[in-house]
Amino acid sequence: MTSIDVREADGGVVLAPAGRLTVVTAPQLRGAVAERITAGDKIIVVDLSGTDFVDSSGLGALVSCLKSARQAGGDLRIVAPTEQVSMVLRMTNLDRILQPRASIDDALRG
């Protein structure tokens, strides 16, 4: 992963990890989300439209971010996964729990 773009939005914060979300880059995402939770953000939106590859550790990081967000009384939502990411979500059945939203607005609305 080259970068995680973080921007404030109405009703939450949007994180957009670009490139590969794997065992190597997962800690970066976990760190970024933890930072936003500490900063008081409740709704964390992870925009996956720029993430072209995710492995099981990457998905694991999404789940542990969801856990931290929930325990802080907030929520984590994922948006617009690319084809490979959608496939992995389906394969692991994780889409039954984390259903991707079509757009960022959609995700922020709740």
Binding site: V23, V24, A26, P27, D55, S56, S57, L59, G60, V63, S64, L66, K67, R70, Q71, G73, D75, L76, R77, T92, N93, L94, D95, R96, I97, L98, Q99, G110
Partner: protein, 662 residues
Amino acid sequence: MQATRRDLRTLEARTTRRRAATIRIVVVLAAASGLNYVVWRWLASVNWESWWIAVPLVLAETYSLIDSLLFGLGAWRIRERGEPPAPPGTGFTVDVFVTTFNEPVELVMRTARAALDISYPHTTWILDDGDRAEVRAAAATMGISVITRSSDWIDRPRHAKAGNLNNALLATEGEFVLVLDADQVPDPKILDRTLGYFKDPLIALVQTPQWFENVPTSDPLGSQAPLFYGPIQQSKDGWNSAFFCGSNAILRREALMQLGLSRYVTEVEQSVHRAIRTSRRLIARAREEAKGDRRVTLALRQASLIVEDARAELARGDGISDVTYRFQRGIDAISTQYADSDLAIMRDNLRELAAMSTDADAFAGIDDAALELLARRDTSPVAAIEAISLLAAALDVDRGGEAQAIMPMATISVTEDMATSMRLHGLGWRSVYHGEILASGLAPEDLETMLGQRLRWAQGTMQVFFRENPLLQRRLTIGQRLMYFGTMWSYFSGFPALVYVTAPVLCLSFGVIPVTAYSVDFFARFIPFLVLNQVLFWVVAAGRPTWRGAQYSLALFPVWIESVTSAFRNVFLGHPLGFRVTSKTKVENGRPRWDLVKPQLFIMGALVIALVVVGIRIAVGQAEGIAPYVNIIWTIYDLAVFSIIIRAVLYRGPAVTTKETP
């Protein structure tokens, strides 16, 4: 990882055709003779007059037949792989985990030092579950990092070694993980000899043998398991069910993480659906208990409305995360509302108190923000309504009771290894048993530690049997189910063992005969079964010693029985197992521990007395026919088996070798 043509050939390697054919012929003969004997026993030779011993005996014999059939079924596809595929070029990342809890620091560091010397590029970690300063200091001098539990584990179930590994898996990033127990000193070539198998992208696990260096050739405590870390694992390998044994194994991280994710999804779904299913009953009962308390009844009615919303949303196919989020906010709303009326009264009281007080500042500190705290879920009076807090905990996606949402290593058993590999196989991953000794460990050196260790392994296996019975795992092939079941089946041997020692005692001492016909009919069926079974063992073992294992599978019957009963109570009644970590150090107070083997000594005494009694009975002409002689041979065999217990009690540990560093 690119596989060359040569690699592909090696990945396909199997037992030679000649050996496989020999084994299969013997398997068929042994199975046929076994079925012939046991069916005859049931149909024609049970002495129903003494049914109370005759039926247990024929049941025990049936048990042994099934054991032998499962052994034969495995051997049918025995897979001896030989040379491994060439290791991949560099560029693959490997983490080496040395797991420890309370082993002596020198022991841990001895293994860690050897781990550093493994030739394939890797990162060495010590997973110190004891969080000891001495380990940290010693590791620092060698430049090794120590991983201890993160703060997430505070006040949550620790899950012993499985938890230790799960914690470390989230703290590291190697593509492959080599797991070593604290006493298992690895060979520098361990990764070069095993990583090549992962050129097959479906391989998730490569298990190598556990072999112990501190055991004399006579192996009085039966520590080496040449049959298990040999033909048995190789048999399972043939059915793609060679399983993880906790140490000396290499695992593919991607497979473990995928397993963790799939378990997370399954468990969250189960929890949510169970909560929805039982919610109506739960709320109805709570309403009854509220006995008309207006506020509780109101809160329960509101709760039941949001549960019904959640039920409808789930049925509609909404994501569980969204459904539970809306549900949790609904519960929050009830909490706030419930607390609000309390808060209003409190504010009024505070205002009045402030008005009466001469020091108005005393109450200024209690501002609205402080009072808002009371409206939070955990402090709100709603938390006291058990039905609501139960639902709130179950209808969530955070697995709040666990330290980590993702738990790759199975936590359903005190031995995490077997359950984990069974689940990996269920996901379609493959495993390899590579039968080359690539690490040398330290076995228990005294009877007590040895008994504790065997009990723990057996208990762990039985927990998996009761919690995730392999026969019922729809995602495993029939062969895999039977191979896992075979291992579990062998741990039930304590019950038939008890029958096998009781029956001859009854026959010799009291003339109770469980078999109607000790005649040609009997011998013509029994002897082929006995002989062919031995031949099968002998052919499959191919020169490995098997007698010690055979002795202990009978002689440790109290341990096997306890493992079954204690695991049953643990799984179904929630009783603790009485679990202890295997100590790797010697207990040196010297006295032989006869007290640990009282049941065995009692049995041996009874067997000896039975021999004396039958001698007298024969002398006075009271014992007739062939039955006493059959049972005399049987008794002598039992005594030979149990004699190992005496040797084990008297065993003083290995002679100190000069190899040990001064």
